[in-house]
Subunit: 350 residues, 2 copies
């Protein structure tokens, strides 16, 4: 075929404009491949050529088609972010950070908000067709599900999750260490009657926070704490604090909550329903360091997760795995940062 006559259907309204690299090429009097190269950083193009093509592209309003590019190059420049409960106060910040950082790498984010952990399978089915370059999972995945990633060679980085006994890459906050810090500080300040408002049993980080706290309490020789399981919501924190007050005689004097929001719920229950103020009457600590933990009504003593550093690490790791396929897995653990507040009698060590 001498000349591929691409008969564009030019709409009468003159609006539609699927300007392709061929159009630009014709307008600039060069070949399509030249146009392609001009839009590829680092390609071998003379200045004269580049100027000419860019001018033509400008004039026609050309925008490279990422879809076509992905198809031929095998790189979609898309990553998927799976988040199990977006309405958990902690995640919006994480999501915003991740999105912006990926954006700086020229990578776009496909968002998947799981309704529940059970959605994971369905979500994965939705992800695969888009041939994403990688995935950040802030959601629990089963070993089988992780296997699907390996089968497809899709890089995966867990965010604040990990599969115990599996080498999958992850970026985490050191839950155990944080929990120990909290117990220690409370203990030093004189607390002996602990209680734990834990996360749901499916939550790996929740379990870690809980387990480490229990162990530390035991190590220090305090009584075994009552352990109540919540779902990370304000309401559950509130309700479980109520539960703790059922036996007024031996109510706890220090309540360790698996996240800030439940801690806030507990504080409210103690204060509103029982007239107990923190830190005079009872100590309450949380975990995460979300925005509202700073609100004056709560002023939470908590462990703040270094979100910026963690998201940066997650993005860097995933990008590296994408660029260099064979890269070994890596787990990065960041220490939580103690955030002094007024919700607990607390003494930091030295």
């Amino acid at each position: 075929m001498a000349e591929k006559t691409r008969s564009k259907i030019v709409s009468i309204k003159g609006a539609r404009q699927p300007v392709t690299s061929y159009d630009v090429a014709r307008h600039a009097g060069v070949s399509q491949s030249a146009v392609s190269r001009c839009f590829k950083p680092g390609a071998s193009v003379s200045k004269k050529m580049r100027d000419r093509v860019m001018k033509a592209a400008e004039e026609l309003g050309y925008e490279p088609n990422a879809i076509a590019r992905s198809l031929i190059s095998g790189r979609s420049n898309l990553v998927a972010i799976m988040i199990s409960n977006l309405t958990n106060l902690y995640y919006p910040e994480v999501l915003a950070e991740l999105t912006q950082r990926f954006s700086e790498h020229g990578v776009r984010v496909l968002l998947f908000a799981l309704r529940s952990e059970a959605d994971a399978n369905e979500t994965l089915q939705q992800i695969w067709p888009y041939r994403v370059d990688g995935v950040i999972a802030a959601a629990e995945l089963s070993p089988e599900q992780v296997g699907e990633f390996e089968k497809r060679d899709v890089p995966l980085v867990f965010y604040n999750r990990h599969l115990t006994g599996s080498p999958v890459s992850s970026v985490c906050c050191d839950q155990e260490d944080g929990a120990r810090q909290l117990v220690d500080g409370l203990f030093k300040a004189g607390h002996r009657r602990f209680a734990i408002i834990a996360g749901p049993p499916e939550s790996v980080v929740g379990v870690e926070r809980k387990t480490a706290a229990i162990e530390r309490i035991e190590e220090l020789g305090a009584d075994d704490p009552p352990i109540l399981e919540g779902d990370y919501s304000y309401e559950s924190g509130f309700a479980l604090a109520e539960e703790l007050m059922k036996h007024k005689k031996k109510r706890p004097d220090a309540v360790i909550c698996a996240n800030d929001v439940m801690a806030i719920g507990a504080l409210d229950a103690f204060r509103v329903n029982h007239g107990l103020n923190a830190p005079e009457d009872i100590s309450v600590v949380g975990f995460d360091g979300v925005g509202p933990s700073h609100w004056k009504s709560y002023n939470l003593t908590t462990i703040r997760q270094p979100v910026r550093r963690m998201t940066e690490a997650a993005v860097t790791m995933l990008m590296a795995m994408i660029e260099e396929p064979g890269l070994p897995n890596e787990k990065r653990v960041f220490s939580g940062i103690f955030q002094a507040g007024g919700s607990a009698q607390f003494e930091t060590g030295n």
Copy 2:
């Protein structure tokens, strides 16, 4: 060419598996187009064929390539969601809802979190190459930017924004009506000295809330309220409440805030720094009905936005515009729902 010998590079590790429709076709002993049709709902395929193909696809682990499909069909099944400040407590819920609803339509979400309104141009440049089928914008766009959508025939639905004087489709909460409800209820309860903690001047909804409140206050014959501008953050609510207390003599008795978070900040400032409790000493109302507005320490009197109905409307509208290109623009306005709380002396009308 008798037979297109597709020489797949079968990796030695046996892991890689870009199974294509050709592979499935060969394995099932049918043509590639047959495979394609089997994966297209509503296509003309016999049961026998479908079973055979599906079995082969299953055996090979075939997953249709959405990228290739998009290229030829001209539909990416992607929508972009632009959100200006994700960390605003109000948006995570919106985002989660939108994502899940789109997912039910087989549409995936590309997320763009703008660092500031100024990022819009850059963001649009990132969006166009992906040939998204439509966009939901919870961010301010200039008329020029909206023009870019029209030029490309990309359906656009504003969420809680709109361009005054332009017919772009949008889903909004009735800000004016909500503001009036709040003023009315406060007035009926006896308040006469209003103050307004407004949103930033760039925020269209903020301006609407403010303007409507001012007008109503004037209509009712109360004094012109002082108007302070915040940035929707807790800190700004707190600081502006402080500001209002500078002139103790004639401090306001009812403070109308442009969103819940600032209202919460104001409540804390009044209580913590000045010993003023709501609603006895001062009334404070917010707007949005975010999660923390229910927290017992605040128990905010506010106008809740019907997020579920609004997101449903937004998704339905955008999908309709995508399916039927010529569709006229439409603006849907939902009334906010009065949410009784304990942060204000308030009397609902009858």
